[in-house]
Structure formats: C-alpha cells, structure tokens
Symmetry: D2
Subunit: 364 residues, 4 copies
C-alpha cells in the first residue's frame, strides 16, 4: 500500500516542540515523499468528530519557535471510551472508534501520526490493532518514558525551572530565607534533579527518593551554622515523605471551588519555617513550565522526530514509535514504547553527582 495522505494529531498536555514535529512532518511529507498531510484538531476528538484540514507548507511556516500546538490538543478524548452527553443531559462513555475509522476513510487518510504521551500512544496502538497504519512520536515533558532517552519539551521545561532557581537565589541571599521551588514531575524527578544540579539547589526532593523532613531541616540548619544565609529547595510535585502521604485540602471562603495549586512544596516550606525558625517562601512553577518558546534542543529534536516519523511511514514500518538512543534517532515497537516508566535511579551517576557537590536528598 502506498501512503498518499496522512493525518496528524497531538494529544495530552501541550509541550514546547510540538510545532517543530508538526512542521517537520508536513515539510518532509510534501517535499520528499509527495504525501499529503491533514491536521486533526484537538487530538482524538477531531478524529472522531471529523474536524480536520489539509496542511500546506504555508500553514507550518513560522511555527518552529512557537510553544503549544497549532492543532490544539485534548487531555481526555479517547475514541474507545468517548464521553458524550446523552438526551437526558447525562454523560455517557461510548466506543466511537468506528466513527474514527469512518472519518479516516472519508478524509482519505492512509495513516496516522500520533504525537503524545502514554495515553495518546496507547490509543494509537489500539487504532493500529484495528488496521490503521500508525506512527507514534513520544511527548512527555517530565521525560519519564523509558523507550526514549530524551524527548522534546523536557529541555524547555528544565530551562524554565533552572531560571526559577536562579531567580530565587538572589532574593534568598538578601533575606536569610529558605526558598522552595515546586516543579513538575509526578512520578519521576528529572526536572527537579537537573534544575537542582544546574541551579545549585541545596536540597532536591524527588519521588524516587522518599525524604525525611527532619533531614531536610537538619541540612538547612547545618548551612546556617556554616554561615550560609539561605537554602534553596527544589521539590518535584510528586516528592513524598518516607513515612506517608501528603494530602492538601483547602477551604477558601468567598468561593466554593478554588483551584488546586501546589502541594508538597507548601508543606515542606511550612515545616522548615516551623522547625528551623527561618522565613520560608514557596513558588509553584506550574504551567509556566509548559509555555513559551522551545529551546534549540527541543526544536532540533522535534524536527528530527518529525522527519523520522515520515521516513518510517514511507518505508511502511508501521506501529512503531520514533525515539532517541544516545545521539541517534531510532524506533521501537509501539507496544513496548509505552509500557515502562523512566525514573531516576537513586544509585545512578547523576544522583551521585548531585551528592558530590553537596546536595541533600533528605534521605541521609
């Protein structure tokens, strides 16, 4: 089967570098392989609903340095478990994969490039099981996918996080304070670890190394005794104390539905302030880490991924995901791609590096 027209979609949370992938797919398909490209709106939602449009060279001109995704994305749309509002106003979950296939036929799509995290790629695998030629491109800002050494978005998030550490340094120095920066990383602490190393954080707390708050406080005290005026603590949102869970609940008068904001960072700050008796402040970077111009690395990697995805399609090597191994672009079976989480290894060279320059992980 010769591929003549492909659909492309982005799913899950947005991530700097998505537009680089889209641009590379469109340019490579049109120029090198004379394959037409159709952009699908808002992830799988656009596939089910048939919201898509042809992408020309002009559509992807000037988007390389822009954050977000020109296609839009959705966090939850899943053709196999599609949420619809019934006549009675209630939400129902239905299998709409048939409509997705039908839309592909209708728009003449011979194959699909799905850019997303494990959710998006798992659905892509299921589409492949229904006979759709599919290529996956990995997207995870937390960099927690085992099947690729690195993916785009992470370097940009790291840049924002490290800049955050840098900014807090100057204000912390002036005030005898503990400054706590909460960064992304629910299951894997890569952003906290690398921003902590790159920014010279004094304490780094990550999900992979449960911490004891007493040891964190001891480190802050030790620094005070050494005459250091401040401590910087970088906390992954998924960091956990050794002895249990943190649950953050909030009551906000004047509003019934406040939005959740931060968690472990505030708790750590509160404990340090209480136990060490030093002013503590916390900043939760949140969505700032997803936004803005991608770094050169992310644009470059996204471009390589996009080109490689189209090459796989042209070679008819379907149901695969592009990935980076060392310095090389390779590909793996889609099935294997999403099965395993890539986490920080507590005994690794990186953690040892951080400890060597004096970083405390709250465990010893």
């Amino acid at each position: 089967m010769k591929i003549k027209r492909i659909g492309i979609l982005t799913g899950g949370g947005d991530c700097p570098g998505l537009n680089a992938v889209i641009r590379a797919v469109v340019k490579t398909a049109l120029r090198r392989f004379k394959i037409e490209v159709v952009g699908i709106a808002d992830g799988y939602a656009g596939l089910v609903e048939g919201v898509m449009r042809p992408l020309q060279d002009s559509d992807v001109s000037g988007i390389l340095h822009r954050g977000g995704t020109i296609l839009g994305t959705s966090n939850r749309a899943n053709p196999f478990q599609y949420a619809v509002i019934g006549e009675d106003g209630k939400m129902m979950i239905q299998d709409r994969s048939g409509e997705a296939l039908e839309q592909m036929r209708k728009f003449g799509l011979d194959a699909l490039v799905a850019i997303g995290g494990d959710g998006t790629l798992s659905i892509a695998k299921k589409m492949a099981d229904l006979g759709v030629p599919v290529i996956g491109v990995p997207k995870t800002i937390d960099n927690d996918l085992d099947a690729t050494d690195v993916t785009f978005g992470f370097d940009s998030a790291l840049a924002v996080a490290t800049e955050g550490v840098d900014r807090l340094h100057s204000t912390a120095e002036s005030h005898h304070r503990a400054m706590i920066l909460e960064v992304m990383g629910r299951y894997a602490g890569w952003i906290a670890l690398r921003a902590g190393i790159a920014g010279g954080g004094d304490v780094i707390l990550i999900p992979e190394i449960p911490y004891e708050i007493e040891k964190v406080c001891n480190e802050v005290k030790r620094r005070i005794h050494l005459g250091k005026r401040f401590s910087i603590v970088v906390v992954a949102e998924g960091a956990k104390p050794k002895d249990g869970e943190i649950t953050v609940q909030r009551t906000v008068e004047g509003s019934t539905d406040p939005i959740r904001l931060g968690g472990v960072g505030q708790v750590v700050a509160g404990r340090i302030e209480k136990e060490v008796g030093i002013e503590s402040r916390v900043v939760v970077l949140g969505h700032l880490q997803r936004g803005g111009t991608p770094t050169p690395f992310d644009r470059w990697l996204g471009t390589r991924f996009g080109v490689a995805a189209v090459e796989l399609l042209a070679e008819e090597r379907f149901t695969r995901m592009v990935c980076l191994r060392g310095q090389n672009i390779e590909s793996v079976e889609l099935e294997k791609a999403v099965s395993k989480l890539r986490r920080v290894e507590p005994q690794s060279e990186e953690v040892r590096t951080a400890r060597s320059v004096g970083t405390c992980f709250g465990d010893e």
Copy 2:
C-alpha cells in the same frame, strides 16, 4: 559640615536594581567627592548592632547586573521599635535609636543613605529628626510611591510578569482554557495593568477597580462565542470583588504549618471553571518577580538615583529623597515622599488604553 564618611543600607523586600544604587553611591562618593562609604548589613539591624564594613571599588565591581542586595536587608528591623529577646525568652519592643546613633559615631558616619520603601524611609525621616543627615532612595517593586514617577525594580518585575503572560498564551491556546496569572500589587495594580497590556491579557483585575465575577465570566463566555479558544486573566494579588472580601484559609493534612500561596487568583479560577465550564489553571508568580537580573532600565535608573543621592549629600541638601519626574532626576522632601500612595486611576489614559484594545476589568 563637610561629609567625609557615609553609611548605606537597604531595607524592606529585595528588589532588582538595589546593587546598581549601591555601586553608584560607592563609586561616586569615592571618586568624585573623596567620601568614604560604609556598608551596613541587613538594613537597620546592622545599624543598631554595628555590623558594617567599608566598601571599596572592588566590593561593588561586577554587581551591577546582579539581583538582590549585597548588603542584605531586613523586613522589620526598626531602631525605634526594635524587637529583642528578653532574659525570660519573650520578645520585647524597645527604642534602640540611641544605639543606632552611637554606632554612627563609633564608625564615624557623617550621614546615611537609606534605600527602601515607605517603612525604611519613614524611619530615615525619624533619624533625620534626631539630627542625622539623611538621603532616601525610593524602592518599591509595586511602583506605588506617589513621590516618584517610576522607581527601579518595577521594570524587572514587569518583565517577569509579561513573560509569564506570554508563556501562558501558548499553553492556553492549545487547550481551550482560562489561564489566571496572579502578580504582585497589594494596594496598586501597576504590574497587573502593564503586564496585561503588554501581554495582551483579556481580563485585568486590580485593587483600584473592584470586579464582579459575573462580568469576568461573561467576558470569558463572550470570547468563547467569538470562537476564541482561551482567555488570559491577569490578577493583582490585592484585587477585590465589588461585594466583599476574599479570605483564603487552608487546611493541609500531613503538615500543621503550610505556607500561604496565592489567593484571589485561585478564587477567580475556581469561579470561572464552575460558571463557564471551561478548564482553568492558575499560576502565582510570587517571589519570581523579585529575583534575577535587573533590566537595563532598572540598572540605569538605579545608577542615576545613586549618583544623585551622593550629589545631594555633597551639596548638604539633607532629609530629601531622590525621584524621577518625567525624564528628570529630582528630589523631594523626605516627609512628603512617603506620605502618599501612587495608585492606578480608573479614568486614566492607561486604563482607557487597555479598554480600547478590548481588555475587561470586570466592572462593566
């Protein structure tokens, strides 16, 4: 009286540009006027305790582009109401202004340059009443001091806030979301107003214009009807609803002393999510706005202020504060300097400008 040696201190919250002032004072005093400069540690605390050291050219070399203050600062130290821990371990408030004067004599300080906000400058005025030759340099990151058109730090904070709006734009576009950015501004909404104009915020909420949440939600709905995928709301921390107060209380399990983080931004986000039915996310910039490298404007203005302060001292024009009027450096009596707040005028050209390009203030 010929001034031969002066002390310099920074008080209140830190602010980008403080080091530019310190550097300019030291260089100008040493070179042009052969006046020695003594750096006082941690605001008035160092004055009372006698913690100070001579500043040479080499001490201020390479600090121009650094955030924070090389002198350190303290938020609360006040010689006239000085907190001390008594023998019984209880905190007492004492008048220690006598010690402050004594330390000035001991270190041979003929005059004082006090860099700070209304708290720091009010104390400086009281020192002047005791006979100390004093010059004030205004510092307020919120830009809410009426006696100067602008002061250093504000432009840098604005840069951080506008970058925040820019970052949220790309992620908001990709997701059909309302993104809320909470910025500094307890009593005056300058940062929210200018970051909102500069970043193209759709809604700007400031203390000077109480908002109605219904009108905010209507604007978000109106945008959705126009086919806009997202709304950006920039909120000053001091923004208030027309009909009352917001009180944010938090209960955090697993910790007894969580740190306060944000407030009105979360409430607004919660209401939009509930009433409009669109995902909402909030980011509280907090201390990021104080940190990092000062902008060229802030370094330039800080340098001008520092030079002008020494010139006033050399001319023996004491008890004055340097200020910017239009494009010119001038000075005002210290007494007048701190008496009046500079707030956004709801009928001003700036607010009209924001409305003209489509910004909603939640009031109409």
Copy 3:
C-alpha cells in the same frame, strides 16, 4: 467629515513594537469607533501600487509580542519621488502622489496613519498638504526624535545591546582583553550611552562627544595598572574622533561585492591593540538590535500610541503626531515633529552620571 475607513502603513527600518501599534489601531478603530482599517503593504509602495487589504481583529490577534511589522515596510518608497524602471531599463524618479491619492479614493480611505521615522513622517506631512487627514506615529530605534521623550523600539534595542555588554564581560574577564561593542546610533548616542551605563562599560564613545584615541588608550592602560583584567568599550556607530573622519574601505578577494560591516568599532579595537598591547576583539551588533520580541515597555508604549492615534482621528485633530511627554501621551503638530534631532547633551545629568561611576568618554 466622519472618518469611516482608514489606511495604516509602516515605513523605514523595522523596529520592535510596530505590531503593537498596528494591533492597537485596528482594535480601537473597530471596537470603540466602528472605523474600518485597511493595511497598506510595504510602506508608501503599497499606497502607490494599491497593495492593501482590510484588517480584522483576527489579523492582529497574537502579533503583540512579535518583532517586525505584519504590513511589511520599505526604506525608500516615496510617492513624491518614486523610483520606476523605464522602458530603457533605466531608473527614473517620478511624482506618483497622484496615484497615491487615487488609490486612497479607490479603497475608500478617509485618513492615513503613518508609522515611521522622519522620512516617513515628512512624506505624511506632504500628503496632509494635499488634503489627506493624517496622523503620525513616531518610530526611531535610535530614539533621536526631539518631539517625543521616548519611542517604542528603543527599549528593545537597548535590551539587546546591554545583553551584549553582559556577554562580553564574562569572556573579557577570563582573557585580559579589551572588548569593543559597536551599537546603533548614527547621529545620537542614546543606545551606547544607556547600554554603557546599564552594562557597566568602561569607555563609551558617542557622536555627540568626539573622542581622542589616546585618551581611550590611556583609560585602558590606567585600568591595567589598577589590576583590572579587561576593559569594555561601547561605541555608537556614529562615534567620531576629534581630529577627523574614519573611512573604512575593504578589499575582499574571492568576491567583488562584500557587504559593509561595522566601522569605528574595528578602528578603535585596532588602535587599542596596537597602542596598549592588549588583545582586542570587536562585535558589531547590527541588525540583532532590531529583531526579536519587543520588551514590555515597547509593547505598552506602542499600544498607547496606537490608541491615541485613533482617538486623534476620531476627534478630527489631523496632521499631528502622537508623542510621550514625561509619563503622558500627548500630540504635536506633524510639521514640528520631524524638524529637530534629539541628541545626547554632553553636559547633561545622564553623561554626568556615567562619568560619576567612572566611565571614560575619550574626551578627558
């Protein structure tokens, strides 16, 4: 005459903030005054040739933070002296102002907003003399127009120039070098002066203060004797030695038409290397100063100018230019607007400020 439709054009070199003006004009005209806006391509060229298109809200959405101008610009197109290629292939200069008027009639334009420097605004004045209602918006990245205290673009150029000084500092420190940075400023030295103050330049050379190379070299030598490892020299492209002109001619083998690049910076670097015996390096910032995202200040000022321009049109106060006076937006007669250059005053507070912190201007 009620204005119903206006044309807008950008002329001269591009400048960060142009898109902010265009966006504000379009949004203000459409929403507040129900005036239609037509975008004219490539400055007066589009006016003569009739290349223009209606601008809607969607055309100016997302352009606020983008450098350049979405309308395009041209450096030389002048309806009164229009260059055309005759049948014999030779270039002729013709008066095409009649066609410009005809195109305005054809497209139904009641008035013109011209954004540009003295060239563009002088032509606007001539159009006004022919009866066209005109409003000018000043654009000069060098900030050398006397009729406005500041204009947009300058702050962004200054940010690039100051970042350049900062970057050279770290490399200069490591190497015992003189680093020379050549910045824009043909007739006025504002960028060199302020980047020099903000970046802590050791020597600043500007057109308004002719320099003696011996005095520059003496300053570099003096610093070496003081044990300083490096000197940073910031040079405006229009800086001149006291005793004459610099002419830079180049012969490039392998090409007959090399492009001019820098000038005075290279000469100064060469002399320092020869006379002081210290390695010297030069960087010419050139077009980097025009490019990239405008600063918050430039977006904010551009927005205010754009709104004010439409307000003037709506009030039928024609043949005027918007301007900034102190902190206020005002307007002046177009005639007066372009007649006088705004230059650095050698005896001003700013130059004195620079000298006070130790800057050498090569004159004493």
Copy 4:
C-alpha cells in the same frame, strides 16, 4: 600514591560551563575525598610562573551560573614552548616544563586537572609523560572533539546562535531581505547546522559541505518565486566554496591596524545582493557566542565532568579524559582523546533531517 592536593587550570578560549567544572572539582575533592584543590591562574602560564591559590568552598560559591572562568585562561601559554622576552627585548621560545614541575613540587600538587581543548590537553599529555598524574576535561565550544559526544559550552553557544536566527527572522520578514548570520565553527559546522535546523534557516553553509554560490543564489531566487519575502542564511566561519578559498583583506583609512571581523558571511552576502538583486545584511556573532550565562545543560554536564574527574583521580586512573557517550559519563585515554576531529557527516541523519525540511546546503 594517595592524592592529597591537586591543581586545576583552564586553557584556551573561554567557554560557558568552565566554572561549573571548577566548582564541581573543588566541592567533590574537599567533601568526598578530603583532597585539597589549588587554582592555577591563566592556564599553563600560572603553572610555570607559580601563580596559584588554594580554593575553598566559598571561592566556588555562586559561580555555577557565571560565564567565563574564575581562574582566567590563556590561549597560548605552553610550558614546553614558552614565550619569554629576552634582555634584548626580543621574544624567545624556551622549554619551561622543568619550572612547571618545580612549581608543582613547591605547591605540593600531586596531580593536575586540565580543562581545555586539544591544545591544552596535548600539553597535559606531555606533562603526564613527565610523570605528572593528569586528568583532562574536554572543552570545545565548536563541539568538534571526536572523543566525546558533546561537551559543555556548545549548548550555550547554540542558544546564542539560534536566538540570533530568531531575531533576524522578524527583521527579514519585514524587509524582503536576505539575512546572513555568521557563527563559529572553523573546522566543523555543528553550531551552524543545529542553529540552522532549530531556527529554520533556509540555507546552511558548513566546512564539511563546500558550497557553490550559484546554488545558494538559486535557492534565494526560488524562494522569491514562491512568494517568500526573505531568506535566512546561517554560515559557519569555516564554510568554503567548492572552487577555492576566500581571503578577506581590509584597508581601513584612519587606522593602520583594524581588527578582523567576519569573512565568509560578508562574501556570501555580497554575492547574493549582486546576483539576486535583493538587499542583504550580515551579522557576525563572534564573541557573543562565548559569553553569558551557561544553559542548564552546560552547567549540568560541566558538573558531571568535574565530579567524574575527581573520581578518576581518587581511583588513580590517570592520563585519562572524561567524556560523554550517549547519556553516560565515561573516560578515554588522553592520547586518543585529542587525536581526532568530530565533524558533520554530509550523509548523516542530521543533514538529511535539515534537507527534509527544505534546507539548502549550497551543494545541490
């Protein structure tokens, strides 16, 4: 032999990330291994002259994010061919390696960490041949050392170069221009290639792929025919035409010793302007690429290299160089480390990626 005290030096051109290495070496040596560290000033010059001082934790505090090297560097000092000024005022070359060894004895240095490029590391190898325990850390901003996949400094230089491309885009779009950006890369085109891919350059010229100027001009013409308003050309300083050399000579009136600035970029710009008849502008980034704050990646890699260097010393695995292989820190024999250049492979996946998205290399 137990290592008790080591010397550390930086040689060659400065590079962002050097301070990260120095900091990591000092902290790791002092804390983990109780090894003292002595900082040697200005590369091998300080070793021969005995200019060095002990480094404590406080000496490396706050330097992680600073460009340059706190030790200073020198481009040419070589103990085996040391330039000295004789009594007759003439420069002589002498072997001063004996003094270098003597100084090591005098200061009690048991081993040496040499951070630098192939020059510095070749000398380190020779010192090893004299019996000095040596560890090398690779530094090459061009990333052209075969023995390591990547080294620090390159990512920071790439960030500056890509920002340069971004800046030129906006100004080029507004003006129908060709913009040429000349970047570093004398023997290898990595910076041009990656900044070109990341910035969306239309033409990329690198030393590894000799170009034909006609083909470059044809690409610019082709783009004009497609209605594209501009072309961006990224040129490595070492790029060469297929048919010969470029020699740039300059005559500058008013000065006898102008400083060399750029080369191939100007020639290419001149030819495009002449042959295509489109305005062309050139920017030479030069030393801007070395300066400023290192990126998070460079600080992180530099820190890992520094820790690994001390670990090798502690394990007494001498005469080796640390390196990055894929994602892992490893080491190679010093001899092999400097023998081979890492160049862009014209048939590689990266070059194919660039071609796939439409980049012209001037060869086809």
